[in-house]
Amino acid sequence: MEELPIIYIDKEELKEFCSQDLSEKEGISYEWEKEQVVHIKLNPSLHSFGRIGKVAFQRGDFPFPYGQSVPWIKDEFSYIVYVLDENTARVFEVVEGRLIEKKLYYIPSKDDLYSRSKGILEVNILESKRVMIVGLGSFGSQIAIELAKAGVGSFSLFDFDRIELHNLARHTCTIKDLGRLKTDAIYDAIVGKNPYAHVDKFPIDINKNIPLLNEEISKADIVICATDNNKSRFNISEELVKQQKLGIFGRAVTRAEGGDIFRYVPGGPCYCCLIGTEWYDTSAEEITNIGSGRRNGQIPAYVSDEDADAVVQVGLSSDIEPICNLMVKLTLMELSRGEDSGISCLEDELVYDYYMWANRRERRHVNWAPLPNAGNRPTILRWYGAYIKKVEDCPLCSHHIVLDEGEEYEAKLGEMTDMKDVD
């Protein structure tokens, strides 16, 4: 039978207490009401939960015989923690002036937190890596948390939006987060998985602060572009090329009937090279809400809200999950590249610039083969990779810029002289 309450204490905070030359200090207990689960903290949590109580941290071992009434204990304290050293403590619940010892569980210190991943991922390497994530919607939020779980140590998060009702069905955040900045909510989610992660939050529109975007790209080992518009993708792509940094772009197509991923590797084709290839259909972009559709120009200004509502078609969270998952794997592989880890073998597999996935045989995938007996024909629920040709005169990534001069429109203009008398 499990001993209740279950009490957790953070070893890093024991270390902190020991490092300070104090004999006692007041802390806080957070109790999940009616669940008999208590987390004891030396420092207040940024966002507290449950019932709050006072805790007395004391240096040294418990000086009284077990169960003895301790006259100096004030009723205002719920627990007394005796800190023996930075790895050991004893915790006592205060019950009517008496101290009853309880079993204590430890939240491991930084060195041990991701020890279970050792052998699969080079956790020490990931801890030193910095990932920049632009866009914390249904894609960016999941990717951020997965990377935190894998042990990535540093993040810069960009999103100017707040959590709204229409986000909840696919977002990692919950109804408790409604109204919060996505950067704040995902910060909490990351440090909830890895309390030692360093997270910088930028609740701004990157398209309106290009110098900051560029500065943060320079600090990052890899950039995840999980935005919903081409303007930001072009801006990020341009700077990735300039700074020769790795980047992963991902999106869902209409109703998340599928999705795709583009990986920029320095020296290779850029996002702009991808546009216009047979693989990439810009018009198939998923529009998740009217506000962002209008802001991005995907819904023209002259379209009424009623008509615009018809183009907002959102897929399921489970539809975008596979796309996020591959983005995470590509990121972890790139961050661990060249190191001897359990995912090194993926370097021989995930070699393509562009990856395509279909969830259902609809619209642009309607002619794909049914999953049973598909043979070599493209079908759903499988990844397909493609090499993208670097455009020699790409305006973003080549030194020789050749612009689209609109010859077809020039020709139309030439024909216009014949239309003077149109009636």
Partner: protein
Amino acid sequence: MMTPERLQAEKDVLKRKLPCYDYRFLDMETSKPYIVLPAKTNRGNIYTIRIELDEFPNEIPKAFVTKMLKTKLGKEMNDCSASMHTLTSEHGYTRICHYGYSSWTPMVSLYKIYVKCRLWLEMYELHLQTGHNMDYYLNHQE
């Protein structure tokens, strides 16, 4: 914002395509740079096209005719109109809807935008002549 290399490439195209035109890049050292180009229609009317460059080429630039045009019925062309290919006006100028989201790439030159605006002006004058909405002549951009 354009890189110096991109700006030079744009100037090279304009110099080649519009050798006799007095176009000007203005406020280029500010956060709101723009270019103005003269446009003479087949009917001999002269307009000025203003293209704003603050987010060009990674975003569709705003393009204006530097006055408030009126429809054949005398209504100011100051709001979004699918049938007339306009967007909400700014600066008191009629704003031309010249590109759609999914068609835009950073490869598009200022010259191409100018040509599309010239076409729009031709259609506008046809509208004044015939009363047909401009939609009658122009396809919508995706």
